[in-house]
């Protein structure tokens, strides 16, 4: 607190030549005093500047009122103007009560009666551009001392963008008293960037040196123009310093891009993983090519949509020309945002149910005929897609992300979006859950037994039909979870699943069919390679094409994928 007080004092001394007696006055009084000095705008500016460093809550509203023309001048008894604001209900003559600006008390005439003024008739306290400028820098400065670090940050960034050399001393003072590390960094950045504009060469040099240390990404353009100037002026010292700073910024950019790409690759890999994990179970473990996997994902996404609507206003559907409307809960705030927590298990259950129906209705007849299962499930996929269109319409539906998924962290200029962080955590949870189910539960034991040797498991009394059903239901449920997740990062429409199905199959094939570890490894690998190629080529589609080509070539090297399930069978 002592430091802050010192700062106030310093700032006051610096920008004002007025006597220290005024320090005792409140901001309100000083402004009232300034307003009436209509003849002398220099004195007004001086008075305003004398407010520097004062953290009075009245300050901003009063200055805004002045600027906005809602402060009026009333002639007092001794021919002097008195600054007033108008308040109270206008009466029949549209007059309002005048309140003294300095004391906030009603202005009274000699007889002690309250003076009432009509705003249309009264004289407005005017401002000119120099006064407004002084007000603005005063407000900027007062924001610099705001108690919230976030507000200070904003003010500093704005001031840094102005690159006004005149404000350097103020920034430097702020740097000395600033305690918040990120704000401190922002102040340093603002100082260094402003220093580049200084006419003094030594200051410019200092700016370059500072920028080389803190290498902010925003400094690139300024530094480039300094390099150009220095080249023109033939100033070798400055040129070297600016180039050094530029190199530091560039290398920082490379680092940020590298980690940014890595992070995006990891999150894309997690999306692939979430999408492919269900397929890894139905295709990898059971050998069923489920082309309707994409539609099971869409079931999950649409379930999320329905749950969201039920939490809010409800929804109206028109399947096959019928009108169905489901009433909603009309919830708002945190309750509404929790819809996603309910939607996740619902998506799992809905997709699992559809999956069970699919298994009972079609797939159980096709366990030994993978190509036929491919065709039949493709048919199912077409039917489901059309059903989505009939029920939800052929346009995309709107799924809102809860606010706890839509912010981000910025660490050292690398942006970590919460939804991407969430998908990584989500993928880890799903993998862990699947692993636990397969290796720690009795059902998992049965699943593994049936997948390894169906006939022998059957001989030992395992009800293989039932195990198939459960496994397929579980895989489908995972697809539903993937859909609930995808609804947060993309559009939800009838062909949602189609956009991911090729990727999902590729992930499973590259990882090695039947290997969960392989699926994890290949999903992360494909995600990172895809994002790196995008970064290098600057083009998402070309990157994707190259990834597909790379996968085809990769399978030359390891035809059975990364992690091969060993078998002695010739026809595997």
């Amino acid at each position: 607190m002592k430091k802050a007080w010192l700062f106030c004092l310093l700032a006051t001394l610096l920008s004002s030549s007025l006597s220290s007696a005024q320090e005792a006055k409140s901001a309100r009084a000083i402004i009232a005093e300034a307003v009436v000095l209509t003849e002398d705008s220099d004195a007004q500016v001086k008075l305003i500047n004398s407010l520097t460093g004062m953290s009075d809550p009245d300050l901003e509203p009063l200055l805004d009122a002045w600027k906005g023309g809602s402060i009026y001048l009333v002639e007092g008894a001794d021919d002097k103007y008195i600054a007033v604001t108008l308040a109270g209900d206008p009466d029949a003559t549209k007059k309002e009560t005048a309140l003294r600006l300095d004391t906030k008390e009603p202005l009274k005439d000699a007889q002690g009666a309250v003076i009432r003024v009509s705003p249309a008739r009264a004289e407005i306290a005017e401002t000119d551009s120099s006064i407004r400028r002084a007000m603005k820098s005063l407000l900027d400065l007062s924001k610099l001392t705001a108690p919230e670090a976030k507000d200070r940050m904003l003010a500093i960034t704005q001031m840094g963008m102005e690159r006004d050399v005149a404000k350097l001393p103020i920034l430097e003072q702020r740097l000395q008293v600033e305690t918040d590390s990120s704000v401190k960094r922002a102040v340093q950045e603002a100082i260094a960037l402003t220093q580049l504009r200084s006419p003094d060469k030594a200051v410019r040099l200092a700016g370059c040196t500072a920028l080389a240390d803190i290498h902010p990404l925003s400094a690139k353009d300024s530094l480039e123009s300094v390099v150009k100037e220095a080249e023109k002026a033939g100033d070798k010292e400055l040129l070297a310093a600016a180039k050094k700073a530029l190199a530091a910024v560039e290398s920082h950019r490379t680092t940020v891009n590298f980690f940014g790409t890595l992070f995006r690759g990891l999150s894309l890999g997690s999306v692939l993983l979430v999408v492919a994990i269900g397929l890894a179970i139905t295709f990898g473990l059971m050998g069923v090519i489920n082309m309707a996997h994409g539609e099971l994902i869409a079931v999950g996404a649409y379930t999320t949509y329905v749950v969201q609507c039920l939490f809010a206003e409800g929804l109206a559907l028109s399947p096959f020309g019928m009108k169905v409307s489901l009433p909603g809960m009309h919830s708002t705030g945190w309750l509404y945002e929790m819809y996603f927590v309910i939607a996740l298990p619902m998506a799992f259950i809905m997709a699992a149910l559809v999956g069970l129906a699919l298994e009972r209705g079609v797939i159980r007849f096709l366990y030994r005929r993978p190509l036929e299962s491919l065709l039949a499930t493709w048919g199912v996929s077409l039917v489901l897609q059309q059903l989505f269109r009939l029920v939800f319409g052929s346009n995309n539906v709107q799924v809102n992300s809860p606010s706890w998924l839509s912010d981000n962290w910025t660490v050292n200029d690398i942006v970590f979006g919460w939804n991407r962080v969430f998908v990584i955590g989500f993928a880890v949870l799903i993998i862990f859950g699947t692993w636990a189910l397969l290796s720690k539960t009795p059902l998992g034991l049965l699943i593994r037994a049936v997948m390894q040797n169906r006939n022998m498991a059957a001989c030992l009394g395992v009800r293989t039909e039932r195990v198939n059903m459960m496994t397929f239901g579980f895989g489908s449920g995972l697809a539903g979870l993937a859909g609930a997740f995808l609804s947060q990062i993309g559009n939800v429409g009838p062909s949602l699943g189609q956009n991911y199905i090729v990727d999902a199959f590729m992930t499973v094939v590259v990882g090695g069919v039947g290997s969960l570890v392989g699926t994890v490894a290949s999903a992360i690998g494909i995600g990172v390679v895809d994002q790196s190629l995008q970064q290098i080529l600057g083009n998402p589609v070309l990157g994707k094409i190259l990834v597909l080509g790379a996968i085809i070539l990769f399978l030359q090297w390891r035809p059975a994928g990364l992690f091969v399930t060993k078998t002695r069978s010739l026809e595997s």
């Binding site: 090519i289 079609v362 007849f365 096709l366 030994r368 005929r369 993978p370 190509l371 036929e372 491919l374 065709l375 039949a376 493709w378 048919g379 199912v380 996929s381 077409l382 039917v383 489901l384 897609q385 059309q386 059903l387 269109r389 009939l390 090729v502 199959f505 590729m506 094939v509 589609v541 070309l542 994707k544 094409i545 597909l548 080509g549 996968i551 085809i552 070539l553 399978l555 030359q556 035809p559 010739l570 026809e571």
Partner: protein
């Protein structure tokens, strides 16, 4: 007939039937059209069906006879279509919107002069050679890679799906200089004939019918030959074929390239008849539709794909007009029903009825019905 013990000669009766059907398509229908009994629209529609039949035959050659389910046939189909489309685009000449001697979309993209690879396509014969070379080379490279590393079964399907997907992504891009997602359209002339006149349409129909007949007869002979037997042996047990000293990858590669070429020819004939080609033709969905035609008609026969392509598309023409919302459900349902209940397709229905009559009262067949032998299909 040195190997007459192994390969039965094709029955005379079958040749007669083929000749009659071919005569009907090549001569009778166009004559009826000329006489005004069959509308131009119908001729055009049937021309499309016959192109689809070529595509379906190419699927069947791979899937029905060799056991390779390719989801990339639509790619070859549209590659052929694009080659023909490039020729047709050159034939527009200065009649385009911008009145320049190059395709409109290139002008739109800001090209001053025609890109080099476009120039030779003003020659019809060059375009036709490319129509065979480009898909052939793509199929050869992909097949060589796939069969060398013994990719088969489902993996082959998934990889061809990825290939098609990648290619369509590429063709959707404008800087591919192949028209981006609009593709090619607004054709005017083919070999000097106005592409919109009924006469040209009739001519294209006749050409398609002739090509289809030739492909049918050619493949009929090929699948009946020793080569065809090895091909089916690869389908039924590839390892035994390998152990008997045959190089099964080379067999598969040959068939893959051949079927790509047939698909490509189908596409090249298709484009002038529908007047448009764009990347949405080369999707997995289109490939799978061709697989359905084959499955519905009867896989492992050569007549099946033709019957399937025509009947499913006729159904589609009707259903998309009568019940536009339900067409996908009908198509999807057809997939399921054919796979579950009609493994031999339409062509196999008489045989199934015969079997059912014979076996009535006895226990039903095992889970996997044997594939229909080519010898039975004459019936």
């Amino acid at each position: 007939m040195t190997h007459s013990l192994l390969v039965r000669p094709i029955a005379k009766r079958e040749w007669t039937i083929t000749a009659v059907v071919a005569f009907f398509f090549i001569v009778v229908l166009p004559l009826l059209n000329l006489g005004g009994l069959v509308s131009d629209f119908t001729i055009n529609l049937w021309g499309k069906y016959l192109c689809y039949a070529l595509l379906a035959i190419s699927v069947d050659l791979l899937w029905g006879y060799t056991g390779l389910l390719s989801l990339g046939q639509a790619l070859f189909f549209s590659l052929g279509g694009y080659m023909m489309g490039m020729y047709l685009m050159r034939m527009i000449g200065t009649l385009g919107q911008y009145k320049k001697d190059m395709p409109d979309f290139l002008v739109f993209l800001g090209w001053e002069r025609l890109p080099t690879f476009w120039t030779p396509f003003s020659s019809f014969s060059f375009a036709m050679i490319m129509m065979l070379v480009i898909p052939g080379v793509v199929a050869y490279i992909f097949g060589w890679l796939a069969f060398r590393s013994r990719v088969k079964g489902v993996y082959f399907s998934i990889l061809t799906q990825a290939l098609t997907y990648g290619a369509s992504l590429m063709f959707f891009r404008n800087d591919m200089l192949m028209g981006g997602n609009n593709g090619f359209t607004d054709f005017r002339f083919i070999l000097g004939f106005d592409i919109r006149s009924p006469g040209t349409k009739r001519g294209l129909f006749i050409v398609t019918a002739v090509v289809l007949t030739a492909v049918y007869v050619g493949l009929r002979c090929l699948t009946r030959s020793r080569f065809g037997l090895v091909q089916q042996a690869v389908r039924d047990s590839e390892n035994r074929v390998l152990f008997s000293g045959y190089s099964s990858p080379n067999f598969k590669l040959f068939i893959f390239v051949l079927s790509a070429l047939i698909g490509s020819i189908g596409g090249a004939l298709y484009v002038p008849q529908v007047g448009i080609i764009n990347p949405s033709e080369m999707t997995t969905e289109k490939s799978l539709e061709a697989v359905v035609w084959t499955a519905v008609g009867g896989r492992g026969t050569l007549i099946g794909p033709i019957v399937g392509a025509i009947s499913v598309n006729a159904l589609k023409s009707w259903a998309t007009r009568a019940y536009p919302d339900l067409w996908l459900i009908i198509l999807g349902g057809m997939f399921i029903i054919v796979v579950l209940f009609l493994p031999k397709g339409i062509v196999g229905v008489p045989g199934m009825i015969r079997d059912w009559l014979k076996k009535r009262g006895r226990q039903t067949e095992p889970d996997l019905p044997p594939l229909q032998k080519p010898e039975e299909e004459a019936a």
